[in-house]
C-alpha cells in the first residue's frame, strides 16, 4: 500500500515536471524554464554559502557574465551552442577563481562587501561595454536550432539541471565535499586530515562559477537577448534569499526554494493575488515583480527564527519516505551495546 502511495507521489512529481509543461502555452513554459534555471543558480550559490561557508552578494554578476558570454559567442562569433556553453563555463570558472583568490585574503563581512561591490561593478560598468554586451540595447541570444521551441528548450534546461544535481551530489559524496565540510567546521581539523583550505575553497568557487555561468547562458537563450539592467543587486538578493529559505546544503530544498521564488511573480498574477491585495484598504498597490522582495524577507525571517533548515528540512521526511524500500528487510534495531573497553 505504501509502495502504491509512493508510486503515486513519484508519478505526480514526474507529471508535474515533465507532462504538465507540455500542456501549457510557450509563453507560460518560458516562466517554468526560468524556474529551472533559477534552481541551477540556487545550487550554484549553495556551493558557496552552504559548502564553503562563503557569502556572495554579487551572484548576479556570476550569472550575468555567463549570459553575456553565451550571447556574445552566439551572435557576434556565431559559434554553435556547444562551443558557446564551453567558453561560457571557462569564463565563469575564471571569474569565480579570481573572486575566490580574494576570499582567501579577505574574510567575513569584508568579503561580503567585496562581492557586493563586484556585483554592482559588473552591473554598471562591465555589462555596459558596447562591443561585448551591445550596450543598453543588449545582446541577442537566439536559441539553438534544435531547441528552438519553448517546450524543447524547457527540457534542455531540465537536462542541465539534472547534470548539475549529479555533479553536486558527487561533490558532496566524495573527498572534495568532505574536505569542505571539515574546513567549514574546523580548519585546524581539516588541515590535520590533509585538506588544503586554499585549494578546496578555490574549487568551491570554480564549481559555483561554472554552475552560475551555465545558468546565465541558459537564461540568455530563454529570453532571447540580454541587457545589463537584468542583473541588478535586487536579483542577487533574491538569489541569496531563495537559497537560504530553500535550505542550505539540501539539494531538494534549494531547488524547491529557487523554483518557488522564480514563480512568485507569475503566481501572484495568475492567482490574482495582487488584485486581492490591492482591494484591501490602506495597502498600497503592489507590482507583481516586487512580490519576491516582499515575500522574501518575510520567509527569510521565518526561516532564520523557526526553521533553520529551510524548505529542505521540511522536505527531508518526505524524501526519506520516498527512498524507503519496504520489500527489503527492516533495518535491525540498533543493539544497545556498551562501549567496548578492551581492544583486540
Amino acid at each position: 500500500m505504501n509502495a502504491a502511495a509512493r508510486g503515486a507521489v513519484l508519478a505526480g512529481l514526474v507529471g508535474l515536471v515533465v507532462v504538465f509543461p507540455l500542456t501549457r502555452s510557450g509563453i507560460e513554459v518560458n516562466v517554468y524554464t526560468q524556474a529551472v534555471i533559477y534552481a541551477i543558480v540556487g545550487l550554484s550559490l549553495n556551493v558557496l554559502l552552504g559548502y564553503a561557508g562563503q557569502i556572495s552578494l554579487g551572484h548576479q554578476a556570476f550569472v550575468g557574465i555567463g549570459a553575456f558570454t553565451a550571447a556574445y559567442m552566439t551572435s557576434v562569433h556565431e559559434q554553435n551552442f556547444v562551443a558557446a556553453i564551453g567558453v561560457t563555463m571557462l569564463v565563469g570558472a575564471a571569474q569565480a577563481l579570481l573572486l575566490g583568490l580574494v576570499s582567501l585574503r579577505i574574510t567575513g563581512l569584508y568579503f561580503a562587501l567585496v562581492t557586493l561591490t563586484y556585483g554592482t561593478m559588473a552591473e554598471s560598468s562591465l555589462f555596459n561595454i558596447n562591443s561585448l554586451t551591445g550596450g543598453s540595447a543588449g545582446q541577442a541570444a537566439p536559441k539553438p536550432a534544435a531547441f528552438a521551441s519553448d517546450h524543447r528548450y524547457y527540457f534542455l534546461c531540465l537536462a542541465f539541471l539534472a547534470v548539475v544535481l549529479y555533479v553536486d551530489w558527487r561533490l558532496t559524496s566524495t573527498k572534495a565535499g568532505r574536505a569542505l565540510l571539515a574546513i567549514r567546521q574546523d580548519r585546524r581539523v581539516a588541515a590535520s586530515f590533509g585538506a588544503d583550505l586554499k585549494r578546496y575553497t578555490l574549487i568551491a568557487f570554480v564549481v559555483s562559477g561554472v554552475f552560475a555561468s551555465v545558468a546565465g547562458a541558459l537564461l540568455a537563450y530563454n529570453t532571447g537577448s540580454v541587457v545589463a539592467s537584468q542583473f541588478t543587486f535586487q536579483l542577487a538578493l533574491v538569489f541569496v534569499i531563495m537559497t537560504v529559505v530553500g535550505g542550505l546544503r539540501s539539494r531538494a530544498g534549494v531547488v524547491v526554494g529557487s523554483v518557488f521564488f522564480a514563480l512568485t511573480g507569475f503566481l501572484f498574477d495568475k492567482l490574482h493575488l495582487a488584485a486581492a491585495f490591492n482591494a484591501l484598504p490602506l495597502v498600497p498597490a503592489l507590482p507583481s515583480n516586487l512580490a519576491p522582495l516582499v515575500l522574501g524577507p518575510l520567509l527569510l525571517l521565518f526561516t532564520l527564527t523557526r526553521h533553520p533548515g529551510g524548505f529542505g528540512e521540511l522536505l527531508r521526511p518526505i524524501g526519506r519516505w520516498l527512498r524507503t524500500d519496504d520489500t527489503a528487510p527492516r533495518a535491525r534495531p540498533r543493539e544497545a551495546r556498551p562501549p567496548v573497553e578492551s581492544h583486540a
Binding site: 558527487r170 566524495t174 588541515a191 590535520s192 574549487i203 573497553e341 578492551s342 581492544h343
Partner: protein, 505 residues
C-alpha cells in the same frame, strides 16, 4: 624520526617556548608533561604546522618541515588529535572517518566532483576501510550516529580512529586520557601499545596523568614556562626535583592560618552533580556528589590536576553552569537556579582562568566594566576604584594603557581588580598563578590576603601548593570527587606529590 631543534615562540610579549628541543625515535612512545601553561600545546602547534616558530627547526624523517603548512605535514605522515577533540561536529562518525581518509583517496578532487566511474569504486573501498577501522576501535555500533552528544570517552576513541584513518607514521595526542576513569586509563595504555604494534606508529603525547605516562612512555620531556625542565626515562623525570617543584611549587611549610571552624558557612554546596552537554547523550558527570562549605571570610583553596573538576566547581558557584542535581546556598539563600548575572548582584564574582581581561580596552575601561551593575552609582564606583588603586598601585599608573599590552602578572591583578569593582562578598579566583613566575605569584597572593583581610571570602583554584600558605583550608579534587579535606597545614607537599606524580621510586 622527529627532531625539534631549539624552537622558540612568543606571542604578545610572552615567551611561550624558549629554545625547546625534542627528539622522537622510530616506534617510540614519548610523553610531554608539565603544569598548565608550560607551552605543551604551543609545542604541538609548532610540530604540526599551526604555528611557525620564531627560531628553530622541525625535522620529520630527516626532512626540514618548518616551512610546510599543516596539511602538507599531514600528507608527510603526521597526524594530530586535539585537546578538545578534533572532529567534525554535526556529521556522523562515518563521515568523520571518510573525511579523515582524505589523503587515502586515490582519485583527484575533480574526478570525484564529475562523478567518474573510478571514483565510485574507490569510494566503496574507502567506506570499507573506515568500517574496518571503526571495528578495530570498537565503534561499529555508533558508525551512523552523529558525533554531537556522544560521550566524551567515545569521542576520544572516534578521534583516534580518525587519526589512524589518515594513515600516519607519527601520531600527536593531546591529553588522550582526559575524561577517562582509572580503569579506562589502564586499558588505554594497552590500546596504545597494541596500536603501535599493529599500525607501526610512533606516538608523541601531551599528558597530565604522570603515572600513566610513566607506565606507557619510553621517554619523557617535562616543560615549564616554555623551557625543557627535564628529559629522560619516565622514572628519572618524575623524581627530578625541578619537575616536582614545577608541579607543586617549593616545599615551604604552610603557615597555619586555620582556626576558621568557628565561623558560619557563607556557601553550602550540597551533593551536586554536574555534566556537560544536553539531551540524552550528556557527558558522564564531571562532578559527582560534591558537598562542601565555604566559611564566612575564609580562604579556601581547591587543589587538583587538570580535569579534576576545579574550574567546573567555580563555574557552578558562579552560576555559569547549573548542576543536574544538588543545591547551592549562598548567605542563607538557595541560588541553585539563579543565573550568573544575578549572582554577581548578590556578591559572587569570578576571576576566570587565563585572566580574560578585555585586551583592546584600557585598564580603566576594564575596571569600569567590572562595575557594570553599579554603573549608575558613582559613589560605589569611586570607592571601588580607590580600593583597587590602593591594592594595585601598578594598575593605577597604567590607567589608559591597553590591557592586552600588560604583563601576565599585571593582567592577573587587573582581572582581580575588575572583579573587586563589583563589590563582591565571595571572590572566586581560577588559577591566579597560571604562567606567572614564583615571585609574581607570591605578590598576587599577598594581594588576595589583603582583600581577604577586608572581609571578602575567597575561593582559590590551584594546581600547585603556591596558594597553601595563603589559605585557611584546602580541598583536593580528583576526577570530580573530593579526595581530601583539611586545614592548609594538614595538606602537605608529600601527599600532593604522591597524588600528582605517583609514588616516587
Amino acid at each position: 624520526m622527529l627532531e625539534v631543534e631549539g624552537c622558540s615562540v612568543s606571542f604578545g610579549g610572552i615567551r611561550a617556548l624558549r629554545d625547546v628541543s625534542v627528539e622522537v625515535g622510530e616506534l617510540e612512545i614519548v610523553g610531554i608533561i608539565g603544569p598548565n601553561g608550560a607551552g605543551k600545546t604551543t609545542l604541538f602547534d609548532v610540530i604540526s604546522g599551526f604555528r611557525r616558530p620564531d627560531a628553530g627547526r622541525v625535522r620529520f624523517r630527516g626532512v626540514d618541515v618548518t616551512d610546510l603548512p599543516a596539511h602538507q605535514r599531514a600528507a608527510a605522515g603526521m597526524a594530530r588529535a586535539f585537546q578538545n577533540v578534533g572532529l567534525i561536529r554535526g556529521a556522523t562518525v562515518r563521515t568523520n572517518l571518510l573525511a579523515a581518509e582524505h589523503l587515502a583517496a586515490r582519485y583527484t578532487a575533480t574526478a570525484g566532483i564529475l562523478g567518474l566511474p573510478a571514483t565510485w569504486a574507490d569510494e566503496r573501498r574507502l567506506s570499507r576501510r573506515a568500517e574496518t577501522l571503526a571495528e578495530i576501535l570498537g565503534l561499529t555500533y555508533v558508525l551512523d550516529r552523529k558525533v554531537d552528544g556522544l560521550p566524551y570517552g567515545i569521542l576520544k576513541h572516534i578521534e583516534l580512529a580518525a587519526v589512524l584513518a589518515t594513515d600516519p607514521d607519527l601520531v600527536l595526542l593531546d591529553e588522550p586520557t582526559s575524561g577517562m576513569g582509572p580503569g579506562e586509563t589502564a586499558a588505554f595504555a594497552d590500546v596504545l601499545r597494541e596500536l603501535r604494534r599493529s599500525f607501526q606508529i610512533t606516538v608523541l603525547m601531551i599528558e597530565h596523568n604522570v603515572p600513566f605516562v610513566s607506565a606507557v612512555c619510553d621517554h619523557v620531556y617535562c616543560l615549564d614556562f616554555g623551557e625543557t625542565l627535564a628529559a629522560g626515562k619516565p622514572e628519572a623525570v618524575r623524581a627530578d626535583p625541578d619537575v616536582v617543584e614545577a608541579y607543586l611549587g617549593k616545599d615551604e611549610p604552610a603557615r597555619c592560618l586555620g582556626a576558621a571552624a568557628a565561623r558560619d558557612p557563607l556557601v553550602v554546596v550540597d551533593n551536586i552533580q554536574v555534566s556537560y552537554g544536553a539531551g540524552p547523550h550528556r557527558s558522564p558527570p564531571v562532578l559527582r556528589d560534591l558537598s562542601f562549605d565555604v566559611l564566612d571570610s575564609e580562604r579556601l583553596v581547591l587543589l587538583g590536576l587538570n580535569g579534576a573538576g576545579k574550574t567546573t566547581t567555580l563555574a557552578v558557584l558562579a552560576g555559569l553552569l547549573h548542576p543536574d542535581r544538588g543545591s547551592i546556598v549562598f548567605a542563607g539563600r538557595d541560588v541553585t537556579a539563579l543565573p550568573a548575572a544575578e549572582r554577581v548582584a548578590l556578591g559572587i564574582t569570578l576571576v576566570p582562568e587565563g585572566r580574560q581581561v578585555f585586551p583592546g580596552l584600557s585598564v580603566e575601561h576594564n575596571l569600569r566594566l567590572g562595575a557594570w551593575l553599579h554603573r549608575h552609582d558613582d559613589r560605589h564606583v569611586a570607592e571601588c576604584r580607590a580600593r583597587v588603586r590602593r591594592l594595585f598601585p601598578r594598575l593605577a599608573r597604567r590607567g589608559w594603557q591597553r590591557a592586552g599590552t600588560l604583563s601576565g602578572g599585571e593582567q592577573q591583578m587587573l582581572a582581580i581588580g575588575r572583579a573587586l569593582m563589583a563589590g563582591p562578598r565571595l571572590l572566586l579566583i581560577d588559577e591566579a598563578s597560571l604562567g606567572l613566575s614564583p615571585a609574581i605569584t607570591r605578590s598576587v597572593f599577598r594581594m588576595v590576603d589583603e582583600i581577604n583581610a577586608e572581609g571578602v571570602t575567597v575561593v582559590l583554584v590551584e594546581q600547585g601548593t603556591a596558594a597553601l600558605g595563603h589559605a585557611d583550608r584546602a580541598l583536593i579534587l580528583e576526577r570530580g570527587r573530593i579526595v581530601h579535606r583539611g586545614t592548609s597545614t594538614e595538606t602537605d607537599h608529600a601527599s600532593l606529590r604522591e597524588r600528582y606524580l605517583g609514588t616516587p621510586v
